[in-house]
């Protein structure tokens, strides 16, 4: 059930109404039943997986908490079991085909090995939530003593499919606090605009940009550097609007139940360096990677080179988390290297006096902002293009810029213009706008300008948005990109 589907338009109000109408003791069970129903809409059989993993982790958490000895062993078993589940369902195909390729390289005859396993929806997200749970219980935090509440933690439908990755202490505290609460208009006043903004990001921007990106990928070899950069920009904004749109709908939907999900994006394309980018992009994942991978690996405690190693490994594994494809690993490695380069640059910068003072200037800030954005865009090529060879050839053509590329003589820009009538000028305008928005949007965001607007002004904005969504929603909206992870 897509957030952008008419099914969800019916499902959400029904569940919200039931939640607030039912007596307190039935609210959480009803929400859990609705969340499991939501999951079963994709494939009913896989409800067994999520319920099974929930029950196992619930028991492990309690055993771990009560254990006087062998805590490390129990913790290890729990983490291994979760990773095994993820590995079997998500990475078995990749491992088997890769092994076949390696055997093929040695024996000069590639064996026809393949496995046919369906990737369960949202497994990457709820597995990470379970791992976080076991980590926290192992570190001494109190486990959840209510199975319904724990099941809801993993299955809560607004965040079920593509996060944000939740933290259980916060979730449990908020979910229990509604016992004293009745629905308030404030919940709806905050939740509904967020849902509308999320829908607008998805159907007005992401879905339209997807057409342009798809066109670029059909025959990338026939395009020159300017077009390829345009496609990369388009994908950068497509994935941003798609994923942040999803998150906004998730946050807005959760608010209708009185639960506030922390933000997952904070204007990532105005980041001034790669480290800053990861503080703004998919925040729930980057903080998870920091807390449960980077720090356990040693974090920054082992000196400069060990820190770089940990950074590299964290990002490479973070890349692999995104999908069972080597191109995601390359994307992760690329970001790991970019973070290391940035880190090394800061050491040099701090030692060279003129560089240190130049780094304080606005010119440097704008330059670093543009550089970061373009480095991220190059990374998106590896993320989007499944074939690594093709991705490298696209990047090569983008980086070694040839303004008069052979195909350009045949008027590629003309083809683009003809085929993408409205999108191209819109994309160009958007790229320009988003790049120059740094100061005003940062300012408005810091001041929480939208929140401070009078209700009638917000209502006019939301009504206009609603009409725009109604008018421009395509008949066949595409699934959210992060659903595949």
């Amino acid at each position: 059930m897509l957030f952008t589907s008419l099914d969800y338009l019916l499902f959400l109000p029904v569940v919200v109404t039931l939640f607030w109408v039912l007596p307190l003791k039935f609210r959480l069970p009803m929400l859990l039943a609705a969340s499991w129903f939501f999951y079963m809409c994709w494939n009913p059989a896989f409800i067994l997986l999520i319920v099974g993993m929930t029950a196992a982790n619930y028991m492990l958490g309690n055993i771990l908490h009560n254990a006087q000895s062998h805590r490390k062993l129990i913790f290890g078993i729990g983490i291994t079991a979760n990773l095994l589940c993820l590995g079997v369902f998500k990475y078995a195909t990749l491992f088997v085909t890769s092994a076949a390729s390696v055997v093929g390289l040695v024996t000069h005859q590639t064996p026809d090995w393949h496995v046919n396993i369906i990737l369960p929806l949202a497994i990457s997200f709820f597995t990470f939530e379970f791992i976080h749970y076991l980590f926290e219980v192992y570190r001494g935090n109190k486990p959840v003593d209510n199975f319904v509440l724990f099941s809801l933690f993993a299955a809560f439908f607004p965040t079920q499919i593509a996060g944000p990755i939740k933290r259980y202490p916060d979730f449990v505290a908020q979910m229990l606090s509604h016992r004293e609460k009745h629905p308030t208009l404030k919940m709806f006043d905050e939740g509904l605009p967020l849902i509308l903004i999320g829908l607008a990001k998805k159907v007005l921007f992401a879905d339209n940009l997807a057409v342009l990106v798809q066109m670029g990928l059909q025959e990338p070899s026939s395009y020159g550097a300017p077009e390829l950069w345009l496609f990369a920009y388009a994908f950068a904004f497509q994935i941003y609007f798609d994923f942040s749109g999803y998150t906004d709908i998730a946050r807005g939907s959760a608010m209708l139940f009185g639960y506030k999900i922390p933000i997952n994006f904070n204007m990532p394309y105005i980041a001034s360096n790669m480290s800053d980018f990861w503080h703004r992009w998919h925040i729930s994942l980057s903080t998870w990677l920091r807390d449960y991978l980077f720090i356990p690996l040693g974090g920054s405690r082992g000196g400069r080179w060990m820190t770089n190693r940990n950074l590299f490994l964290t990002m490479a594994l973070g890349g692999l988390w995104h999908g069972a494809s080597w191109s995601f690993v390359v994307w992760g490695v690329y970001h790991g290297l970019a973070l290391i380069i940035h880190r090394e640059f800061t050491f040099i910068r701090d030692k060279v006096e003129w560089l240190k003072s130049f780094a304080q200037t606005k010119v440097f800030h704008v330059m670093s902002l543009l550089l970061t954005f373009h480095v991220v865009c190059v990374g998106w090529v590896f993320f989007r293009v499944e074939n690594i060879g093709t991705a490298f050839s696209i990047v090569k053509r983008m980086v070694f810029f040839k303004p008069i590329y052979a195909a350009a003589e045949q008027g590629q820009f003309f083809v683009l213009k003809e085929n993408m009538p409205v999108v191209v000028p819109v994309v160009m305008a958007m790229v320009a706008l988003l790049l120059i928005q740094n100061w005003p949007v940062s300012y408005l965001n810091t001041k929480q300008y939208f929140k401070k607007l009078p209700a009638p002004v917000k209502a006019v904005f939301c009504t206009a948005l609603l009409f725009a969504i109604i008018t421009f929603t395509p008949d066949d909206s595409k699934p959210f990109i992060y659903f595949q992870f």
Partner: protein, 430 residues
């Protein structure tokens, strides 16, 4: 005491409403919907030539005809293959100057509901005066004809006879494969009576769309708004509005480079701001170079057997529906140029002929084939499929003649009692 607390309560209520984005938004949405329903804002932009009021100018004539009180005796149905020659014939009949520019197509031909020449011929050949209503719709396909007839009959009207012009393109249009995505469907499906929802097996999406369209006028006509806004953006940015137009523009550019005449049959004189200009009428038809053959290749090929089968099933339904209302049907196989026909694989032509003959026999419909009597050359056409005034005159005269001399048909059509007035199609609970 009540007097003391009521203003206080009202004040609190007003404060709550004024302070709530949700309540205000719902209120504004309902108010905006009511205003839009009343004002129909797209009409204000009619002068731009971009508006597609009531979904699409191609089908704008249908709703008024459905709810009109007139009840003509003969219903003329078909695609532009019927519509264009009926206008040309009437222009000749009344000695009007016919035109060959886009403005005329859009404002006269597409909205034309008469067939006076044919009506006159019918009266002359059969000795009986019958009014003819021309509900032929440009770019329509067979499923559209079924829907038009169904809605027309549902509206309470009952013609004495139906004349349906058909050609292979009505069953094989690759550009319009989905019966639920045509302009005719868009406009007429919204006129659904609730019994339609139960009578036909409809998808969940279709039912939801219907329900949302019922509550929101903007949702119902979102196609209109989208078309207008994208059309306007395309005009401002100088880009074609969609892939279809983009391809046509590229073909035009290529043709201009190669110094060959433009592929467009219909000229589009525009003023400086790009709006179709009625002050530059074109009265002279271009030489018929059959430039639309390229488009027809896209329409026909590759032949989609599933589409053919589906559309044939609608001819079956069409004839069954007419039979259930005891209305005789005359199927006119509209002539097209031999060059156009040559695009079709032989087996498809044979299947088309065979299936039409079989269905006509099954439902006792009369088939009229003007090609049996006349031979048509490119001189009788405006392009590869649309008859001009000369060709149209020969076809309509022949059809009237065939109807006139068929006594059984005349007797059957007399049986059908004419209903008086009409029932506007409305949601039954309204």
């Amino acid at each position: 005491m009540t007097n003391g607390t009521t203003p206080g309560k009202l004040k609190r209520l007003a404060t709550t409403i004024a302070g709530s984005t949700t309540i205000l938004m719902i209120g504004m949405f309902i108010a905006a919907e009511a205003i839009i329903k009343e004002v129909k804002p797209l009409r204000l932009f009619n002068h731009t030539g971009l508006t597609t009021i009531n979904q699409n100018f191609l089908v704008a004539k249908l709703p008024p005809c459905m709810s009109a009180h007139e009840n003509p005796q003969v219903l003329l149905l078909g695609s532009s293959l019927v519509l264009v020659p009926s206008v040309r014939c009437d222009d000749d009949f009344y000695k009007r100057k016919t035109r060959y520019d886009r403005w005329y197509y859009r404002n006269v031909i597409d909205e034309y509901t008469k067939a006076d020449f044919f009506q006159n011929e019918l009266a002359r050949q059969s000795g009986k005066q019958r009014n003819v209503l021309d509900l032929a719709v440009a770019a329509s396909i067979m499923s559209d004809q079924y829907l038009i007839l169904k809605k027309y009959l549902d509206s309470g009207k009952s013609p004495e006879m139906i004349v349906l012009g058909i050609a292979p393109r009505d069953f094989l249009d690759n550009l319009r494969q989905d019966p639920e995505k045509t302009p005719t469907y868009s406009i007429l499906a919204d006129l659904t009576c609730i019994k339609d929802l139960f009578e036909q097996k409809r998808s969940k999406e279709s039912i939801t769309n219907f329900a949302l369209g019922y509550f929101s006028d903007v949702y119902k006509n979102r196609g209109d708004y989208k078309t207008f806004l994208t059309g306007y953006t395309a005009r401002v940015t100088g880009h074609p509005v969609d892939l279809y137009n983009a391809t046509k523009e590229m073909e035009k550019t290529a043709a201009a480079t190669a110094s060959v005449p433009t592929a467009d049959l219909i000229a589009e004189p525009k003023n400086d701001s790009g709006v179709l200009d009625n002050s530059k009428p074109i009265y002279e038809a271009r030489k018929n170079n059959l430039f639309d053959l390229k488009e027809y290749r896209r329409i026909y090929l590759p032949v989609n057997n599933q589409v053919f089968k589906t559309q044939m099933s609608y001819l079956d339904k069409f004839l069954a529906l007419a039979q259930s209302h005891e209305i005789p049907v005359v199927l006119v196989e509209m002539p097209v140029t031999k060059e156009n026909l040559a695009l079709l694989p032989e087996d498809i032509k044979a299947r088309f002929e065979k299936k039409v003959a079989m269905l006509a026999t099954k439902y006792d419909a009369k088939i009229v084939k003007p090609l049996d009597k006349h031979s048509f050359t490119t001189e009788d056409f405006e392009d590869s499929v649309h008859l001009n005034g000369k060709g149209g005159t020969r076809v309509f005269s022949y059809v009237a003649e065939e109807i006139g001399k068929d006594r059984e048909l005349a007797a059957r059509s007399m049986k059908n009692k004419t209903a008086v007035g009409s029932l506007p199609i409305r949601w039954p609970f309204q």
